[in-house]
Structure formats: structure tokens, C-alpha cells
Amino acid sequence: MTEVDARGLSCPIPVVETKKALKAHPEGVCVLVDSKVCVENVSRYATAMGYNPKAVEKNGEWTIEIKK
């Protein structure tokens, strides 16, 4: 799965990057973020686009798997 590394980036950039990645890979992408706000924003965007995002936390970093 295509990976978007948005760690250290502040919103809205992780969401913009997710948007671009999903446009290129409509089947789904994996987004790495390191703040809860970004998890919320990326997940909200993915849900609005009809995906089913799942975030898993590990040491203050999250991997959000975005699939249909």
C-alpha cells in the first residue's frame, strides 16, 4: 500500500497530502502522522470520501490505514 509520511507536518498539510495520494491511488493509502489532531482530520476526510480509516498508535505515532 502507498505510504504518505506526514509526521511532523501540521494541519492541513497531512490532509492535503492524503487527498493527493488518494487521487493517485483510489484503492487506498497508508498515512503516518504524529499528532492526534492530524489523526482526527485525516480520518474525518477519509470517512467523508467514503473510505474506512483505521488508526493504530505506536509510541505517539499513528499509522492510518485508509481503505474502502
Binding site: R7, G8, L9, S10, C11, P12, I13, V15, V16, K19, S35, K36, V37, E40, R44, Y45, T47, A48, G60
Partner: protein, 358 residues
């Protein structure tokens, strides 16, 4: 947090903030200025004698409360995370310009909503400028605008601004004569220290939990067609409007509005600069205070930029003139030059990436 709960919290949070804001006016704050991050940072800059404009000098406990409210909330909910290092000097300059724009209009985005809710139509012109500024920033964001990554920092880096605010509070309570305090004008109008502080803490808590941001709301609609954050913005407007109507503080019109200026071109351009600059920073002045409380030292630098910006504005007479409505030439030049600099910075961080270490 799922979407519905998030929206509900923003709605309730926004309504409560609107009530607190008008409540502060009823308890002594200047009209339509229950909260104004730009004005209050300027007042603190005056109180600490960075500028000597006699009418706007007071250590506003609301600001201290916002930072500490966010800090305590972030610590309690394990969201305190010291981080920084994303183009701090550039953020400082952007923040100086944001302050120049805000003090031309005479208010931050938060006060713009409160002024609208008080019937001040100058704020409507400013809102259009603000939206245009954010739309301009969205253009750059879509093209790849990025000030760069932040990196984890040591604890002290993230606690410095909250600590400064504790010190400011202790000094303001223990030795108030240490600071300059306005005897007339907006700086002399304020609620009691304890009330202002508690109001700041409460709004700091709400804003930290809900991620409320005046810039983010409009930005998300333009960029992502996401209306979530705008709910907070709208809720503040509605509750402040109802409160103003109920307490006789609503006055519709352009003329004679409290702490306002009527040069509409510069109301527009001032808030255009604020919208553009804040969207580049990633959040409105309120959000910068909240993020600084969460340990973000880039946002702390932005707060310092606004602090210095406010001093520059009053030392060089760049502010919007609330008396006869005509801003001075140097103020107009500063706003226009500020917008040009913001656009140049936006171009640089969007297009000039090749050959750099990212």
C-alpha cells in the same frame, strides 16, 4: 473522536464561548471585545512598555488563561507534546504581519466574529477580506505550500511560554504597579482579574479540546469541503448575537462602532493579510496560543511575533484609527507591504524547493 461527537462539541463549545465573550463585556471589557487576541497581546505589549500608547496598556489575564488553560488540558489529556523547528524565523515575520493587518482592522478573527455579532458592518467587509486571504493561502496549500516539518523538543522548550505566562500572572497580581496600566481608553476597560483569568482558562480548555480555529473553519470548507470546524465559528456568532440583542449591545451599522475604523479598503486588506498569514501559520491567533500551550514552540514564536508586531504597530503609528476612521499613510503602506511579503514567502515555500534539503 467520531464526526458527530466532534461537531456536537464544537457547537456547544462555540455557544459557551460566545456567552463568555459577551459576559466579559458586561463585566467591564471594551465593547465587542470580550476576547480579541490581537488587541489583548497588544495591551500586554503596552503594559510591559514595549510600546507607550497610553490607551492600550494592561496585562490581559484572558491571554494568560488561554495559554495555561490549553497547557493544563493538554497535560491532563496526555496531549502535551513539546515540538518545534518548522521555519521559526519565517513564522515570526508572518506573525508580525498578521498583527499589522489585525490592528489595521482593529481585531483578530475572534473579535471580527464578536464585532459582527454586535452589528458592526465594518467587520463584514473584513470577513470578506479574511475569506479572500484564506482562499489565497488554499491556492498555495494545494500547490504544495509547506513551512516544513516540526521535530520533537525537550520538555523545557514546550513549557517556556506557559512558564512566562505564570510569571506574568504572579507579577500582575503581586506588583501591579510594575506594569503600565491605561487610565483611559480600551486598556482601562476590563473585567476583574479573577473573572478574566477564569474566562481565559475556560475558553483555553474548550479550544484545546475542540480544536476550534477561526481560520481552519473557512480553510477546510475551501480546501476540503469540510464544514466541521466552521460550526464553532458559527456557534460563537449565534450565541454572541443573541446575548448582544438580549442585553441591548447590538447596534447595526458602519459608523460609530466601538473600537473600529471605517476605511473599508483597509478593513478588507487588513483582514486579507490576517487570513493569508494565519492560514500559512496553520491557525488563527487564538489557535496559536492554544498550540503554544500544548508545547508547540513554533506557535510560541508566532505569539512572540504578534507581541513584537503589536509594539511596532503602535511605535510607528500603523494602527487603524478608531477616532476619525482614517488610517495613517505609513499604516496603509505597512499593510500592503506586509501582503506582498506574505505572498513572496508563500511563493518561496511552494515553488522554490529544488536543490534544498527538505
Amino acid at each position: 473522536m467520531n464526526g458527530t461527537k466532534e461537531k456536537r462539541n464544537l457547537l456547544i463549545g462555540g455557544l459557551v464561548i460566545g456567552i463568555i465573550a459577551v459576559g466579559l463585556v458586561l463585566l467591564g471589557n471594551p465593547k465587542n471585545m470580550g476576547f480579541c487576541i490581537a488587541c489583548f497581546i497588544r495591551d500586554i505589549a503596552g503594559a510591559t512598555k514595549l510600546h507607550t500608547a497610553g490607551v492600550v496598556q494592561y496585562v490581559r489575564p484572558e491571554i494568560i488563561g488561554l495559554v495555561l488553560g490549553s497547557f493544563l488540558t493538554a497535560v491532563c489529556f496526555k496531549e502535551f507534546k513539546p515540538r518545534g523547528g518548522s521555519a521559526p524565523m519565517t513564522r515570526f515575520i508572518i506573525s508580525v504581519i498578521v498583527m499589522i493587518g489585525a490592528l489595521m482592522f482593529l481585531g483578530c478573527p475572534f473579535r471580527m466574529i464578536l464585532r459582527l455579532a454586535g452589528g458592526d458592518l465594518n467587520a463584514l467587509v473584513a470577513l470578506i477580506g479574511f475569506i479572500c486571504g484564506i482562499a489565497t493561502a488554499c491556492f498555495f496549500l494545494n500547490k504544495g505550500f509547506n513551512l516544513g516539518k516540526t521535530y520533537p523538543q525537550r520538555g523545557l522548550e514546550g513549557t517556556t511560554l506557559p512558564a512566562i505566562n505564570v510569571l506574568l500572572l504572579v507579577l500582575a497580581v503581586a506588583v501591579p504597579t510594575f506594569f503600565a496600566i491605561s487610565e483611559k481608553g480600551p486598556g482601562s476597560q476590563h473585567a476583574a482579574i479573577a473573572i478574566s483569568l477564569v474566562a481565559g482558562l475556560a475558553v483555553g480548555f474548550i479550544a484545546q479540546k475542540t480544536r476550534l480555529c477561526m481560520v481552519g473553519g473557512i480553510r477546510d470548507v475551501i480546501l476540503l469541503k469540510d464544514w466541521t470546524l466552521l460550526i464553532g465559528f458559527a456557534a460563537i456568532f449565534v450565541s454572541a448575537l443573541v446575548m448582544n440583542l438580549a442585553t441591548g449591545n447590538f447596534k447595526l451599522g458602519f459608523e460609530g462602532q466601538p473600537v473600529a475604523q471605517t476605511n473599508q479598503l483597509f478593513n478588507f486588506l487588513g483582514m486579507y493579510a490576517v487570513g493569508l498569514g494565519c492560514a500559512m501559520l496553520g491557525g488563527c491567533p487564538l489557535r496559536q496560543l492554544i498550540l503554544a500551550g500544548e508545547g508547540n514552540s513554533d506557535s510560541a514564536i508566532s505569539v512572540l511575533g504578534m507581541f513584537v508586531g503589536a509594539a511596532l504597530v503602535h511605535n510607528f503609528g500603523l494602527q487603524g484609527n478608531a477616532v476619525d476612521g482614517l488610517p495613517a499613510t505609513q499604516g496603509k503602506v505597512a499593510v500592503i507591504l506586509g501582503i506582498v511579503i506574505l505572498l513572496a514567502i508563500a511563493c518561496y515555500y511552494t515553488f522554490a524547493k529544488k536543490g534544498e534539503n527538505k
